[in-house]
């Protein structure tokens, strides 16, 4: 029992340090030229989406990474979506639509609700809260 708790504590410390190091890298990447969103993993990637193809959605309830995977699953199966980026810290979901395509507010609200969250605001373009 004692050994297990000690092992758990060491594993936690290891992952905490690893995460801290990753955050350092993220901060560094954010400082480049005020890009809308930096490319990261393929499934959580806005790529080089133009401002007119970017939708920023402020949502509530966005607290858990594992649960928020539903956002990717719901949005990325649509043919009009090019990419998605989730920001747990700010409670924002950025959606990149394919050039020339858009998604109306009612559909966005339904997609967010289906993913398990509530929409607070929808903003189109690069600038958001």
């Amino acid at each position: 029992m004692k050994i297990s708790i000690t092992a758990i504590l060491f594993m936690t410390l290891f992952f905490a340090l690893q995460s801290h190091a990753q955050h350092g890298e993220h901060e560094h990447n954010h400082n480049h030229e005020g890009q809308v969103a930096e490319p990261s993993a393929a499934s959580n990637d806005m790529g080089n989406a133009a401002c007119e193809d970017t939708i920023n959605i402020k949502v509530s309830g966005l607290v858990c990474d594992f649960c928020a995977r539903s956002l990717e699953k719901v949005f990325l199966k649509r043919s009009d979506v090019a990419g998605i980026k989730v920001d747990l810290g700010k409670g924002f979901v950025a959606v990149a639509t394919k050039p020339g395509l858009t998604i109306d507010d009612a559909t966005l609200t339904k997609l967010i609700t289906d993913s398990g969250y509530n929409v607070n605001a929808i903003q189109r373009g690069c600038e958001h809260g």
Binding site: M1, S4, I5, I8, M11, T12, F15, A16, Q18, S19, H20, Q22, H23, H26, S40, A41, N44, V59, S60, G61, L62, V63, C64, D65, F66, C67, A68, R69, S70, K73, V74, K77, V86, D87, L88, G89, G91, T113, D114, S115, G116, Y117, N118, N120
Partner: protein, 215 residues
Amino acid sequence: MKLTVFTLCCVILMGYAPQSLSRPVSYPGGWTVMQKNDKNAHSLHVHYSPTAKYSIGYRTEYWREENWQFHGAQLNYLVKRHNAPASQANFYLKGGLGTAHGDLGVPDSEPQLAAFADIALDWETRRYFTSYENRVYYAEDIAKFFRQKARVGIAPYIGDYGDLHTWLMLQVDHITGERDNISVTPLVRFFKNEYLVEVGISDKGGILFNLIIRF
């Protein structure tokens, strides 16, 4: 008495800290596989969510000491979800219906009707987590008992989307029936992307290992 005190503690806990990460209901069209093991039993639950309100799936359990197993269908229903700017709370009802097989290995042991009903509540922020769940089992002559568990958890660091997330948790289990007891299990939960793993060991020496994968 034990049951009353434990239930009261859980209710108080939920009152002070108004989620389950394992989410028994997923997004429309989503599949989830949950494999759980503890000192009492091993279980496998595979479910599909037609809508964001409910899921339906197959469940099997094997209870080690009593040597019986359950096979059946399980329905999970999201009664209420409360999304706040920095937290989420959920209230689920679950039910299962199937057959129980006791005295494994005995040729003339007949399967019996079995069912369970379950209430689950959870609340979490990015830092804190709490949940409570109970279940009533009925399996004719094989088993009849009540089980409840409560959890509290804290994230030692706040990870970004896509990071490896870690939670330190404490789970308290209470089970009635032949093995009437309360056990305490410290555990650690890791998740990254669609994979969640929990590892712990109870004060009774039982190993806890849970794995959840979402598709």
